[in-house]
Structure formats: structure tokens, C-alpha cells
């Protein structure tokens, strides 16, 4: 925990330094506000690092969900990590595979990964959800989600029905 805190505050300090360097390039009074904030954040970071060093021998105070994460077993952490990766990858996959395919796959994998034993049921729920929302996005919300082959077919079908 000590190393994590140290690394985190160092990262924030680095971020503030990068912004501070850029703020130097801003002309006149306009640089005062950001430079002041950068200075305060840097000073704050140093204080937080000093506090972390002073408290390094004390047992870490873990609250709520962080303690759950620390208490999680290896396979549990792996599944959580996979859940995070899945939903971070989802926006990228949307552009490649389209809304219906990506959403169906993402929801099915997510449900099964976290505990749903019946894969077919998960797949059916995900497919229904995807198609219903694809229809809603096209006809009610007018949200242009990235389209794949299935989305194009669905859109064409809806327009044929409407015309």
C-alpha cells in the first residue's frame, strides 16, 4: 500500500509538472490561475508523500470495497480484471463489429464471467437487449451507434416497415 500511495502521488506530481511547464508558455495574467493551482497541487503532493512516509509502518486503513479487493482470491481478481478489460475494449470493438454483435457478445461474456452458469440464457438476454436497444436508438432516441452488418440489416428492415 505504501508503494502504491508513493507511486500515485508521484504520478500526480508529474502531471502537475507537465501542466506547469505548459502554463509557463501562457502569456501575462492568464497564466497566474493555472500556475497557482499547479504550485498548490505540487506542494500538496509533497505533503501527502511526507505523510505516507511517516505512516509507512502503520497498518494501512482499508475501507469498504478496497478491503474486499485486498481480500479477493487470485481467480476472483483475475475475473474482475477481465470484466474491466472487457468493458474498456467494448467501445473499440463497437467501431469494428457494430452495435448488435458487440453488445450481445459483451453482455454474454460479462454475465458468464461473473457468475451466470447458463450460457444460452445469458446469450438470449444479451441478444434481446441488443436488438431492442438497436431499434430504440434508430427509431426513438436517434443515437447513431456504430453500425455493423446486422445493424444495417435492421435499419433497412425498419425503414422498409415505415415506408
Amino acid at each position: 500500500m505504501f508503494v502504491f500511495r508513493l507511486f500515485s502521488f508521484a504520478l500526480i506530481a508529474a502531471f502537475a509538472l507537465v501542466l506547469g511547464k505548459q502554463a509557463m508558455g501562457i502569456s501575462g495574467m492568464a497564466s497566474t490561475y493555472p500556475l497557482t493551482l499547479v504550485t498548490v497541487v505540487l506542494a500538496g503532493t509533497l505533503y501527502m508523500i511526507a505523510t505516507a512516509v511517516a505512516q509507512r509502518r502503520e497498518p494501512p486503513v482499508l475501507t469498504g470495497d478496497v478491503s474486499h479487493l485486498v481480500a479477493a482470491t487470485g481467480p476472483e481478481r483475475l475475473r474482475l480484471f477481465a470484466f474491466v478489460i472487457l468493458w474498456v475494449a467494448y467501445p473499440w470493438l463497437l467501431g469494428m463489429l457494430g452495435f448488435i454483435v458487440t453488445t450481445t457478445l459483451a453482455i454474454t461474456v460479462s454475465l458468464c464471467m461473473l457468475g451466470q452458469k447458463r450460457i444460452l440464457l445469458a446469450f438470449a438476454c444479451a441478444a434481446v437487449f441488443s436488438v431492442v436497444f438497436a431499434v430504440l436508438f434508430t427509431t426513438v432516441f436517434y443515437v447513431p451507434v456504430p453500425a455493423g452488418i446486422l445493424d444495417d440489416w435492421l435499419t433497412t428492415f425498419i425503414f422498409r416497415l415505415q415506408s
Binding site: 492568464a30 500538496g44 479477493a72 460479462s110
Partner: protein, 497 residues
């Protein structure tokens, strides 16, 4: 005001009121989902509506979400939202004694009455505060914003230094974008999408929704400790009619406490029931056994929570200052509809604001009746597995963020905000100061720029009494907190509702 009332009873408004309350109750009843999460997820949906209907629906989700937390608190002794911890003490004790329907109906009645009294306070206090704030210049605004930051920093249970640090990090983050003084891009690293800064709602969805999806996923991997649903008991209505008229003083005391604490930033629905409950124990003359199914204890808790929700709307609308995470998301929603909360909003759009206020009153009346007669039927949501919630909250967070501006960049901003929220949670730095800074930062910088050009010396600023009062109170509060240290007991660490 009359036009606002007429707007609030159109069929679209009534649909928004009913829909918002039901969605909110369902969200609140599910342990792990919060009112803030519900509001943030439904902000994109409000684009399909006019601003007043959107605001009414979000108000319904807020009020319903806070009440919904009591359902699981009473039936399975797990507060649906952290605001319902006190309710679980008294309500679940009643349920164990075979009076679950009565506990649910009493909670709904108290929540509704608290909300109605708060809505009346909102209707009459907000215009007064708003017209007072109209005389504010940049010194008063700067001082008021410093006061708001200070009160959040001081009131939170987390260490003062980390609260201050979070606030300044938030202020620094929102300097990314166009400079308000000379209008040139600042800290954008050549990314054109950053010229307008981070999308506020995308950031808030990351902070409150997607991060919660990860937490839900984590909890779904642990063995479920969900308790058994206790739902036995006779029809509650006769006892309800007998009990409620005898507790008018408790209702009034709790409502006043709730509204007052709601007006103060940082004392949100989580802390309010503890204070109201303590007051009730101190002043109650009925010799009730608190903690063992006390009627007055449950009334004090539920009434004050709902009143706090209404109270938090007063500074939000009149000054543009959010008192809690949920109120912060409200500000984001208003901004997205092109409305800047603050005294000018009341001056420029009185019909819209009065429509919202009347809508808030009506939705609380609806919540009272729905809660008393139908809340029990929402108990089915307690059986939804956490992995299902985690999956669909994640999906809705991404799709909702994309729908704001049909922009994939916002989705990546939201994912970044999620990582930031989880990172800060691991560092034990409260997110509320960061959220306040992210929302109020641009206004603060703007007012400082105006102050800088309009006033040449500190002496001139100190001739403005309101500004001096705000600054003096801020310094006093900081000093008090420094002297007192961080020791305080009886209230939980700040969590989101």
C-alpha cells in the same frame, strides 16, 4: 408561480413525476445502486424531454431513490443506499417483530411528508435566496465559492489535507480546455476534443456509475451475504392512521432539521438521519425504545432524509452550488440543457423553475401514496443478482455517455473518470471535493478573472460585507476543524447516496 403549477400538472409532467419516482424507488431498493447512479444514468434520457420535464424526472429519481433504500433496509436489514442506515435499525426491528408492512408504510408516509414539507420550503425560500444573490458581484461569488469548497472540505470525515488536496486536483483538472481570459487552448496536448474541456456528465457517469459497476462486479464475486426477506404482518393502514397524527412534532422537527442540513453543502442524506435521530432521542418524551423498532426513530430518519433532498435544491437552484453528489449531477444535467444554475436562472426562467418546484411537490405526494400502497411490490428487485446489475450498469454507462453527444471521445473520458474515481477511493481521498471542484471550477476561475479586472486592491473587496462574512466563516470553520482534529464519532465516512 401559477404558470409553473399548470405546467407541473400536464400529462407529460405527471408522466415524468410518476416515471421518475418508480425508477428511483427501484434503483434505491437495490443494494449497490444509488440515487446518484440513477440520476447520472438517466441524464442522457432527459435530452428527449423539455428541460422542465427532464428536471422533474430526475427529481423523482432522486426522491424515489432515497426512499427506495429503505425497502431493503427494512426487509433484509441491508440499506439500499447509505442514507437508510438509521432506517434499517428501527425498520428491520419492526419487521422482525412481524410488522414489516407497517414499517414500510410508515417509512413511505414519513418520506412523503418530509418531501412535501421540503418542497414547500423550496417554493418559498429559493426565490428569497435567489433575489438576495442577484446583488452579488464577483467578490461575493468568489467568497461564496470558497465558502462552499471549505464547508465540503471541513465536513467530510476523511483527513482535512486529503480533502483539500482532492479539491485542488479537481480545480487543476478543469483548467484543461479553452482559457476563459484569452480564449486560447490550454493543456489540450493538441487534442481538438479537449478544447471545450471534459464533458461534465461523462465525468460524473464515470465517477458515480461505471466505478459502481466495477464495485458491483467485485462484490458479485464474493459469497452473497444477503439476508432473508422478512415480509410478514397484518394490514398496516389502521395503525398508520392512528400513529401518524400523534407524531406531528416529530415530523416538523425532522423536516426542519433535514431542510436546514440540506441547505448546507456536504451534509447530505447520509449524515442527516443520524443528526435527526440523535435530536429525536434527546427531545422525545414518549419513552420509546430506540433501536428496537421505535416509531419516532423511523419517522425522524425518513422525514429528515426526504427533507434534506428538498433542502439541497435551494442552494443548487438559487446559487448554483451542489450540496451532494446527486445535486452535482443535477447541475451537470441543467448545464447540458443550456441552463446555468444560479440567481440568473430564476430571473431568466421563472416558469421553468416553478414548474420544477411544483413538480417536485407533486412527485412527493405521488411517492407517499405509491410508497404506502405499492412499495412492497418492489421487493422483487432485492433478488436481482449483483453480476446482472454490474453488467447492465456497465453497458448503460457506456451507451448513456455515448448518447450525450454521439461522441466516442466522451466514452473514453468516462472510462478515464472511472479509473480516477477508483484510484482516489483506493488512496482514501474523498471524491466529493473533486466533484465540487470539477463543477464549480470554471465558474470560480471566471469570477476570479472578473474580480482581477474590476478591483485593484484587496481593501476594495473587503468593503463588501457579504464577501467578508463568507470568507470569515470559511476561515473560522477551517480553524475549528484544525483545532478539533479529525476525531468525530457517530457518523459514517462520506459515501455516495
Amino acid at each position: 408561480m401559477l404558470e409553473g403549477f399548470l405546467n407541473a400538472i400536464t400529462y407529460q409532467s405527471v408522466a415524468a413525476e410518476i416515471g421518475g419516482v418508480i425508477i428511483g424507488i427501484i434503483f434505491g431498493a437495490i443494494p449497490g445502486l444509488t440515487a446518484t447512479l440513477g440520476i447520472a444514468l438517466f441524464v442522457p434520457v432527459t435530452f428527449l424531454m423539455s428541460p422542465e420535464h427532464g428536471m422533474i424526472m430526475l427529481g423523482g429519481i432522486y426522491s424515489g431513490g432515497i426512499f427506495g433504500g429503505s425497502i431493503s433496509a427494512i426487509l433484509i436489514n441491508i440499506p439500499g443506499t447509505p442514507a437508510s442506515i438509521v432506517t434499517s435499525w428501527e425498520g428491520h426491528a419492526m419487521a422482525r417483530a412481524g410488522k414489516a408492512p407497517f414499517a414500510l408504510a410508515l417509512a413511505a408516509m414519513s418520506s412523503g411528508i418530509g418531501g412535501i414539507l421540503a418542497a414547500i420550503a423550496v417554493l418559498f425560500l429559493t426565490p428569497i435566496l435567489s433575489s438576495f444573490a442577484l446583488s452579488f458581484g464577483s467578490p461575493e461569488y468568489c467568497a461564496l465559492l470558497i465558502f462552499s469548497f471549505t464547508i465540503v472540505i471541513v465536513m467530510l470525515e476523511t483527513p482535512l489535507a486529503s480533502n483539500l488536496f482532492g479539491c485542488f486536483v479537481g480545480l487543476l483538472i478543469v483548467t484543461i480546455g479553452l482559457d476563459p481570459v484569452i480564449g486560447t487552448p490550454r493543456f489540450t496536448f493538441g487534442v481538438v476534443e479537449l478544447y471545450s474541456g471534459f464533458n461534465l456528465v461523462a465525468v460524473l457517469i464515470g465517477f458515480f456509475c461505471m466505478s459502481q459497476a466495477v464495485v458491483l462486479a467485485l462484490n458479485s464475486l464474493r459469497p452473497d451475504k444477503g439476508g432473508e426477506i422478512i415480509f410478514d404482518g397484518k394490514s398496516p393502514y389502521a395503525e398508520l392512521l392512528r400513529v401518524v397524527p400523534t407524531r406531528i412534532v416529530t415530523y416538523l422537527r425532522s423536516a426542519v432539521t433535514g431542510v436546514f442540513l440540506g441547505i448546507l453543502p456536504a451534509l447530505g442524506p447520509v449524515e442527516t438521519p443520524f443528526i435527526s435521530y440523535a435530536l429525536e432521542k434527546r427531545f422525545n418524551k414518549r419513552n420509546e425504545k430506540f433501536g428496537k423498532g421505535s416509531v419516532s426513530g423511523l419517522i425522524a430518519s425518513e422525514t429528515s432524509i426526504s427533507a434534506n433532498v428538498g433542502g439541497s435544491l435551494i442552494p443548487l437552484i438559487s446559487l448554483g452550488i451542489p450540496g451532494s453528489g446527486a445535486a452535482a449531477v443535477f447541475i451537470g444535467a441543467l448545464t447540458l440543457h443550456g441552463l446555468q444554475p444560479g440567481p440568473m436562472l430564476f430571473a431568466n426562467q421563472p416558469t421553468l423553475i416553478y414548474s420544477f418546484f411544483w413538480g417536485f411537490l407533486i412527485l412527493n405526494i405521488f411517492m407517499l401514496f405509491f410508497g404506502v400502497f405499492a412499495a412492497r411490490y418492489c421487493a422483487f428487485v432485492l433478488k436481482i443478482p449483483k453480476f446482472v446489475l454490474a453488467t447492465f450498469v456497465a453497458a448503460f454507462s457506456i451507451l448513456g455517455t455515448f448518447a450525450i453527444q454521439n461522441n466516442m471521445f466522451d466514452v473514453f473520458v468516462m472510462l478515464g473518470a472511472t479509473a480516477f474515481a477508483l484510484w482516489f477511493q483506493a488512496l482514501r481521498i474523498s471524491l466529493l471535493p473533486v466533484v465540487m471542484a470539477v463543477i464549480l471550477g470554471p465558474l470560480f476561475e471566471q469570477q476570479i478573472a472578473v474580480l482581477n479586472t474590476s478591483y485593484s486592491s484587496v481593501g476594495e473587496v473587503l468593503q463588501r460585507p457579504a464577501a467578508v462574512v463568507f470568507l470569515a466563516v470559511s476561515v473560522l470553520m477551517l480553524g475549528f476543524r484544525l483545532v478539533r482534529g479529525t476525531s468525530r464519532s457517530g457518523m459514517p465516512e462520506q459515501t455516495e447516496v
